[in-house]
Symmetry: C2
Subunit: 463 residues, 2 copies
Amino acid sequence: MTAAAKSRFDEQLLEVLRQIVGERVTTADAIREQHGKDESFHPSIPPDAVVFAHSTDEVSRVVTACAERGVPIVPFGTGTSLEGHVAALEGGVCIDVSQMNNVLAVNAEDLDCRVQPGVTRKQLNEYLRDTGLFFPIDPGADASLGGMTATRASGTNAVRYGTMRENVLSLEVVLADGRVIRTAKRSKKTSAGYDMTRLFVGSEGTLGVITEVTLRLYGIPEAMSAAVCSFPDLESAVNTVILTIQSGVPVARIELLDEVQMDACNKYSDLDYPVQPTLFFEFHGSERGVVEQVEQVEAIAGDFGASEFNWARKAEDRSKLWQARHDAYYAGIALRPGGKGIATDVCVPISRLAECILETKKDVVESGLIAPIVGHVGDGNFHLVIVVDPDDKDEMARAEALNERMVMRALAMDGTCTGEHGVGYGKIGFLEAEHGEALSVMRDIKRALDPGNIMNPGKIIRL
Amino acid sequence: MTAAAKSRFDEQLLEVLRQIVGERVTTADAIREQHGKDESFHPSIPPDAVVFAHSTDEVSRVVTACAERGVPIVPFGTGTSLEGHVAALEGGVCIDVSQMNNVLAVNAEDLDCRVQPGVTRKQLNEYLRDTGLFFPIDPGADASLGGMTATRASGTNAVRYGTMRENVLSLEVVLADGRVIRTAKRSKKTSAGYDMTRLFVGSEGTLGVITEVTLRLYGIPEAMSAAVCSFPDLESAVNTVILTIQSGVPVARIELLDEVQMDACNKYSDLDYPVQPTLFFEFHGSERGVVEQVEQVEAIAGDFGASEFNWARKAEDRSKLWQARHDAYYAGIALRPGGKGIATDVCVPISRLAECILETKKDVVESGLIAPIVGHVGDGNFHLVIVVDPDDKDEMARAEALNERMVMRALAMDGTCTGEHGVGYGKIGFLEAEHGEALSVMRDIKRALDPGNIMNPGKIIRL
């Protein structure tokens, strides 16, 4: 179905939407433009209208109205995705859930909570402050929890706490025909049928709109400690990571930044770290447990020629350190005024990580592009931020070629084309190479749950 | 479709199967009878024929031949399931994969391995013995890893290591039309499309036949220690569990056995534990870490009036202790010569666990049935083994009523009708109450992937 054939957005639908949400629907250019783009280089492709939903019932009624007319739906959280997830490729209605931002329940005894999809991770942790609990998944951006669920996000803490896959207990979802389902009860385990929760985690709005998320929480560790340490070369840093993971040290975060990225971070965040390949660590546990972890990791890093560990023991120092890490993407882009970022994102088995990173680094040097390396290397996951001028066709072609080589290298190493950013439409071309025949099963599921292809069409699956 | 209408097993198909697997297909009564039943009270419902497959290609060709004729397929591992999973409700061909029992790869550096579906958990751990690695999921029975995947099994270690859901990295699956897919690459994380791995974990052969499993492995902990301790009453034991979990102690196993079960275990395994509600613990970690965990748990248990901890520090003593726990099901059944077991299996949020267990216990006493309680209580999961004479209709009715009240109580507490045993056809009647509208999504998926309803028909989803 072509975009023109599908999108039948018109004044009549607009009137129906007004009956559902009153003044909270708009066709203003600036709002539409802002809702058609994310934080990447992908251009804005605006929806026909934006609805700011306040309840599951509103979402259900909006979806039903659109479904009756074959008009596409694009769910929107904070717009911090990176692969064109929110681009309205076939027009239609963007459902912005950012105002559905209430924490609905905190079950401290069960270590879980239930939130609306627009609650952001920082907002949740602020809310939890007096409970002794926290939600660990941290993709850097202050993303909405609905969006993090939809893209199966992870980030710096995943090496210890897992990704959204492991930390979503249950979802409420509005299906493509407006029906509302709950994917699971709140028990920690279940064998009661197909895993509907995991089906919607990572489905990027292509199977339904997430309207509630039940999440696992964790007790704030008795002790936390963070450190930075630099290495003579990239290989030594990566090998330190590999040995740390293989030794079973339950490190909470272990992040790699290459010398280009460190230079960018120093400039962006006014820091003076050595311009060398660097690891950022964080340790969580009991007082004794953290000491034990630190001893193990210092010994491993020392064997690979690491510098002394530069410690951040106080909460405010740790915050500063991690803010610098989280700003790495923006710091990278700032290396070139007016530049845009192409964030690559591969993940490989850790035994292949050193080879994968070193070959990628060589590729970057040969490409002549500015492309710092940064990664959640404890999971075998790393990124290049290729800083480009999107109007420079030659440069864009070289950047795309670099990305493609990186993806194909990862796939050849039994890795994935995207560890945590998701597919959107930016990575859609790689799924055939990654999944082969399994892609046809995804297509069967998409057709079964969204026969009219109105849910975020053109993302993950092309019908 | 009725059973008669569907199953078109005939001499011609038998001949085709012979061409595929030679002498490894049989219609002998004894073999068929054995393949139609599991370890529960459910009667044997034999398939028309049993095929002993040796390769993915054979499975694919057998499925293709059956699909062309609309003949049902029932995958079979070790037959240790408990809800009638392998009953050939509509006849057809049982594919026994127990001879596909090779460990295909151990990637020690990546902490993963790839096995054929007939490899059992004990066989895998025996194979891994010299690597310093182990696979922790332990449902008691020495089940096949394919079967454990298909039922989303868990068991005693899940409180620390998770269930099959968290520990399967990738699967090879033969679909209902004979196509072969791999659900994921081997990287630890991925956001590359729908989670096909988790869709097949727990699908009980209703969407395809699992022909390879890639599993996470773990380093054998530096220190392991196990202990038994008894309590004055059930409530004190359960509250010890709840507080241990809520305190974040990373206990590896924490199992509850009530006084009826302890009496059964003493008799069955020739032991002399006090006939009181009892917890079995296991602690994994560094030497210092285990000491720390033990101190915390002893303090909690002491506050609830526990006996001294009875320690099993040597590997052989731990084995003996856990063998007694694993034999609990058989010990329960042995309370009554000729009795059969109805194993119930609910899981609730841990804040509701004490209430759920105590109400269930009261119900058992009022029912007059023999039904010891045993459970993976760290996850909120527990079982009654109702020991019945299947020929006594009144008793069976009382047992069913007891099970139904237990399930409905768990659902009302936001729990599940099955924590780890799965649905089979024994629990199929509860899915509507548990999932509501979400069950229709499961049905849509079943129809999309198995339009002829030949894959283990009548399990999980009734079409």
